[in-house]
């Protein structure tokens, strides 16, 4: 089985600067969104595909403006309720999954520990790593948004180092802001002089 990250060039441009992702109470999408292509599945078996996001380390960070760098600012906050994003096409046959690019663009990040929308709960100012899970569906098995992914022979877990990010409630590095505005269609209103009329 093989999983390829799509849009890897864009991820690398963000990664070189130090990717930041906004988290809000209501939930905010990631940009870029994770998109993968899978091969080597059994076309006639059923699989769930899910994503979770794990801490990269046990630290809390702060952004130092004059050096444009993230510095350790202490130990991580206490753990947060674990959440799993189950790709909405799940469960589907290997054939179905392999035919398409699998996009996680509807996944949302929140800093609300009491969230009841099924969004992924994270701490602000921490570093995280998204992971993709390919889970062979055994008969009768059901997945939950709020329980850890089942481990074992039927589960493969993949992650891509260039997709790590730091959570923020407002962008710290202006180069990140600029890249987001430049590439995210929904931020088009902030491009060029589009907003220079107030």
């Amino acid at each position: 089985m093989r999983v390829d990250l799509q849009g890897s060039d864009l991820w690398k441009r963000f990664h070189e600067i130090g990717t930041e992702m906004i988290i809000t109470k209501a939930g905010r999408r990631m940009f870029p969104a994770m998109r993968v292509k899978i091969s080597g599945l059994d076309p006639h078996q059923l699989y769930y595909i899910t994503m979770d996001i794990i801490p990269v380390d046990n630290k809390r960070y702060r952004y130092v403006y004059h050096s444009s760098k993230w510095m350790v600012a202490g130990n991580a906050d206490s753990p947060v309720p674990p959440r799993v994003y189950i790709h909405p096409d799940s469960p589907a046959s290997g054939e179905t999954w392999m035919r398409q690019v699998i996009s996680f663009d509807k996944l949302k990040l929140t800093n609300n520990e009491l969230d009841d929308q099924g969004h992924i709960i994270l701490h602000s100012m921490h570093k995280y790593q998204p992971r993709v899970h390919v889970i062979h569906k055994e008969r009768g098995e059901e997945l939950s948004h709020v329980r850890a992914v089942p481990q074992g022979d039927g589960t493969r877990t993949l992650s891509f180092p260039e997709t790590t990010f730091t959570t923020v409630t407002a962008y710290q590095n202006q180069q990140i802001t600029r890249l987001k505005i430049d590439r995210n269609p929904f931020a088009k209103g902030f491009r060029d002089s589009g907003r220079n009329r107030t």
Copy 2:
């Protein structure tokens, strides 16, 4: 097993006037959309839920303005490629289906016999009846958008007389137009004097 039509009051108001549905080349949604609630499924079995739309009779119609009535205008045009709308949540467990209102609002009608978007192909100026199919998923079975629904013990077919309609490319009865504008949120721009400024 039991299937209840939701929004039945609105359907009846349309039906009393004589429901019309626009069909276009690109595909047009139905308004109202079919919405049903199902009970009596086996919570742990898998089901597909699908919709097709069959001719009510073998006739072609025309609208007579001065009597505000649809009159037979000859025999039906030659049959059209059969299409099935597979509800996007399919397949799902009986438990999942019974927990929600099942909406067919994304289903689209077209008069383009060469349509490749998977929309339901119909003749203009004909009378039709939508049908809901609840299909018990046998292992390995796959459904197709372009083949008839499998018949047999594993399939239940339901229809609601108040949801019959006549296809048009432009509304014939102005009472239908008024009801649509009044109730469809997307037609809000035509309400009251909202458009009386040109």
